[in-house]
Amino acid sequence: MPSATVPTPSGNLSKTASADSRGDQSARGFGLYVHWPFCVSKCPYCDFNSHVRDTVDEDRWCAALVESVRDAASVETEAKILSSIFFGGGTPSLMAPETVASILNAAERHFGFAPDIEITLEANPNSVEAEKFQDYREAGINRLSLGVQALNDEALAFLGRAHSAKEALNAIETAQKIFARSSFDLIYARPGQTLNAWGSELGKALNLANGRHLSLYQLTIERGTRFFEAVNRGDFQVADEDLGADLYDLTQNMCAAAGLPAYEISNHAGPDDASRHNLTYWRYGEYVGVGPGAHGRRREAGEVFATAEVRSPERWLAQIEQDGNGLAEKTRVSRAAQIEEILMMGLRLSDGIRAADFVELTNMTLENAFAAETIAHLTEQNLLALDDAGMRATPSGRLVLNSLIASVAEAMTPNEAP
């Protein structure tokens, strides 16, 4: 296993300094996502590509991920220098800090780092993993995202989490000491959770978050999870639409009042604390995905390609060891589909789709891309706004975003429609 050369955020390897030839693309950033598909136990609500394995041959995995980074960098694309890296999962905090360091090393060597690169790691807040936070920082991580999920033991037990509320509080404290930037996730709208109960839990969370970053997700019941079966059996029910909407409104109001307004449907941050990596997705920037099931969007010679890695961990590993890449598919994204993707991602942001981004991505203006009549109707209904800055969903539009996106997509002007 390679030794842990520590690539600091300021980096000093050759590519770091070279300016991006495509300044316009860099406005949306260039990210690298690394997927670690293992967890100590499978949470009953979780449908992510995460698996429980007795043993993981970490040396093999490390080598494979390093190889995958190298392979991804061999593709000539418009973006060159990474502005962010995200270790997601699964539970990446199960990785040895050395593994993290090796991958970062490879990333810096093959892609190069922007001076202010953001490098996030998703961590589970149990004590064992918290002990490694300092080592992660030394490996190059400069932002931590903690999967806290709930602030009381009863709810954590219901969610099948392997940590206690006390451990979570300690982890938050440790993370904030070690990292200048950090965040934690909560799942709300849990069965039986009242407006009041969530209000007081969120109040506590806002104190803990300390003006930084919070991800607040309403519980969704996903096919194929244990919760899905439980709901089908009638063991419990999720919040209905009205309660969901009330909980959402309460969340928006409390977070805004506490200086953590929503910058995306489920994400809240103080000034400059938004996740730059996630902003790259939402702004439809270029990103690379390595590791099982990871997705990427690459811009090659004026075309956009969607990439997806093989989903099964073992098959991914075997393929990369054999073929030197872990790719399952690489498909060209048509112009119309690109516009749809820009809508699906961009309208999630409070700032919406920036006018300049849209022009750079599509060579047309927002005004020209969609039927004026539909936009006028949606504007009249106070669901959408379109002005010089860009196109965005209003607060009430964001609450019905799925329908809003479908309506705007349907209004795509004929020469763009699929």
Binding site: T220, I265, M344, M345, L399, V400
Partner: protein
């Protein structure tokens, strides 16, 4: 050619589900028409829809070779007839090709409305009748009681009714024997000029138009030139054959025989049911009386959900009509729905069947507008005319008189549900003509306006009687009515395809029910949608569909867009099944479902 004395032609008449198709299966099996492995249930129901819905739509025929107990080789020609009231008229045409019929009654259910109606049709056709009590394998079967009931209610002698189980085959031979013994052999003179009845016709992609014939006199053979008397056209006969039930070519058909001919005819429209086929070189001087063509009584608009499918819809309708001359269509254009067709049907079931076939066999996504009956309108000036489409309803101040069709309906129902059935008929402006009893079953006869019946009368009748009521009707003239046009407004815009003509006294409750139903059928939108029913400018009922409150994917999937893509594709697909009016997407099924009001 078989001697007429060894031929028996018969139909099976029965109430729906009493076992007609199953009995036909047993007979075919018994007479060896099909190998066991070729048998599937209800072999004569050839269309998928027939088999699925368990109903027979077109007349079917099969020749059975049967060696009677007395050792004689006989031919039995079975005509399977449609059982549903919508197709009652086709039944009478099939009956005209036979000398007798089997009156099949489910021994666990007894006489039902269509048993009565069909029995009377057989009597009208001068048929000898063999009464058969089916399903005696069921524990609930009471053949003796039902035998008495038949005598009592239908008024025919049922002393030698034959108990059978079409399911197990028990008694089926007795039925075959009874047909030989009791039915008259067909008459006819083989040497006379050809005189054959055109029983039915359909289009076969390989053979062209196939004509089902019943020969009265003379012989029809391959190579001869036949003439269709009413059509006035002549064609050389290319093929002569019989169904066993698979088509089998033979040289000729003589008096009493039933079979098919093909003669290079391109269009079914040329072949008129009831027409007489004769020898072009030696025509008969005495053609058969013929039938009046069946007339559509229910009209509705059919539109493709995707306006680009208009041409395909037209072609599909043309092709369907090849095999079903009882439905009509003409182009229609609607401000809201664009270009489509106004189509006429024998009844609501017929409508549903055509709609289903278009969607299934021709892969079309359709909007069916509210079914309407045919009104007769006299304006202050000008001649009386027929109104097929509520959209064309004239300015009410110009109307001198408007008439609507009435029916005479017979409902049979167990006593305990009689109250609900009477209430239903009264609610639908019915006028009671008769109320008698057959055992513990009431037989009620009502006059009802057809426009109260076409929409959901069967459904309501079924539900108020828990499925125990049976129903039959026939058209019974036109009468002036106090009728008005009701418009439906969705989000402030009139949706013409939802307009309908209603009786003034029923307008308000109907309008209310429609608004309620639409509220259930139209999905919530991002904004609230007012729904109104109006007569002229006056709103008589309203409802509001509230705006959806929350519809957003909360979870973060990082750079994986597949969930969002799936959702968007699903939404697009959903929208394909809807039509947008102003800003409101209305699901296609709303246009017809809105009239099936469920409860009142």
């Amino acid at each position: 050619m078989t001697k007429p004395s060894h031929i028996r032609n018969f139909a099976i008449v029965a109430h729906i589900d009493h076992g007609k198709s199953t009995l036909a299966d047993r007979m075919i099996e018994f007479c060896g028409g099909l190998e066991k492995r070729e048998m599937k249930e209800q072999v004569l129901d050839s269309m998928d829809i027939e088999r699925e819905r368990g109903i027979t739509i077109k007349a079917q025929t099969v020749r059975l070779s049967y060696t009677a107990k007395n050792g004689e080789d006989c031919i039995l020609n079975l005509m399977d007839t449609p059982g549903h009231v919508d197709f009652a008229y086709e039944v009478s045409r099939s009956l005209a090709a036979c000398e007798g019929s089997i009156l099949l009654v489910d021994a666990s259910q007894g006489v039902e409305a269509q048993t009565l109606a069909n029995a009377y049709q057989s009597i009208d056709a001068d048929h000898e009748m063999v009464v058969v009590l089916n399903k005696i394998d069921l524990p609930a079967a009471e053949p003796e009681r039902i035998r008495a009931q038949i005598e009592d209610v239908v008024g025919i002698d049922a002393s030698d009714a034959i108990p059978i189980s079409a399911k197990t085959g028990e008694g089926v031979v007795d039925v075959l024997e009874a047909l030989i013994e009791r039915l008259p052999a067909p008459g006819g003179d083989a040497d006379a000029p050809l005189r054959a009845m055109l029983v039915d016709s359909w289009y076969d992609p390989y053979l062209g138009v196939v004509i089902l014939v019943r020969v009265r006199d003379g012989v029809i053979k391959k190579g001869m030139k036949m003439r269709m008397v009413a059509a006035g056209t002549s064609h050389p006969v290319e093929r002569v054959g019989i169904f066993k039930p698979k088509p089998d070519q033979i040289d000729q058909l003589g008096p009493g025989e039933i079979g098919f001919v093909t003669a290079g005819i391109k269009e079914v429209a040329e072949t008129q049911v009831g027409d007489t086929l004769t020898d072009d070189s030696r025509p008969t001087t005495d053609p058969l009386p013929g039938f009046r063509p069946s007339v559509p009584v229910v009209f509705c608009g059919l539109f493709a959900v995707d306006a680009n499918d208009f041409e395909e819809l037209r072609e599909s309708l043309v092709r369907l009509r090849l095999n079903d001359s009882s439905f009509q269509f003409e182009p229609e254009s609607s401000p809201a729905l664009g270009y489509g067709f106004r189509c006429g049907f024998l009844g609501l079931l017929h409508l549903e069947i055509i709609q289903e076939r278009l969607e299934r066999e021709f892969n079309l996504n359709l909007i069916t507008t509210a079914p309407s009956v045919v009104y007769r309108i006299a304006l202050n000036t000008g001649p009386e005319y027929e109104l097929h489409n509520p959209v064309d309803y004239p300015d009410p101040t110009q109307i001198k008189r408007i008439e609507e069709p009435w029916i005479r309906a017979t409902v049979m129902v167990p006593d305990e549900y009689l109250g609900s059935v009477l209430k239903l008929c009264e609610d639908r402006r019915g006028i009671q003509l008769d109320l008698t009893y057959a055992g513990n079953r009431a037989v009620v006869v009502y006059r009802l306006p057809l426009n109260e019946v076409v929409f959901d009368f069967y459904d309501r009748l079924k539900s108020v009687s828990r499925g125990y009521a049976s129903f039959d009707y026939h058209i019974d003239g036109y009468e002036e009515g106090d009728l008005v046009k009701m418009s439906i407004l969705v989000n402030g815009d009139t949706v013409d395809a939802l307009s309908l003509v209603v009786h003034r006294g029923r307008a308000e409750s109907r309008g209310r029910a429609i608004c309620e139903r639409l509220k259930e059928l139209i999905p919530r939108h991002m904004f609230k949608i007012p729904l109104q029913a109006a007569i002229g400018g006056k709103v008589i009922a309203r409802q509001t569909i509230s705006a959806m409150r929350k519809d957003v994917l909360a979870k973060c999937y990082g750079g994986d867009l597949s969930r969002k893509r799936k959702l968007l594709d699903k939404q697009k697909k959903g929208k394909k099944k809807m039509r947008t009016f102003g800003k409101v997407a209305i699901p296609q099924e709303a246009f017809i479902a809105v009239l099936k009001l469920g409860h009142e």
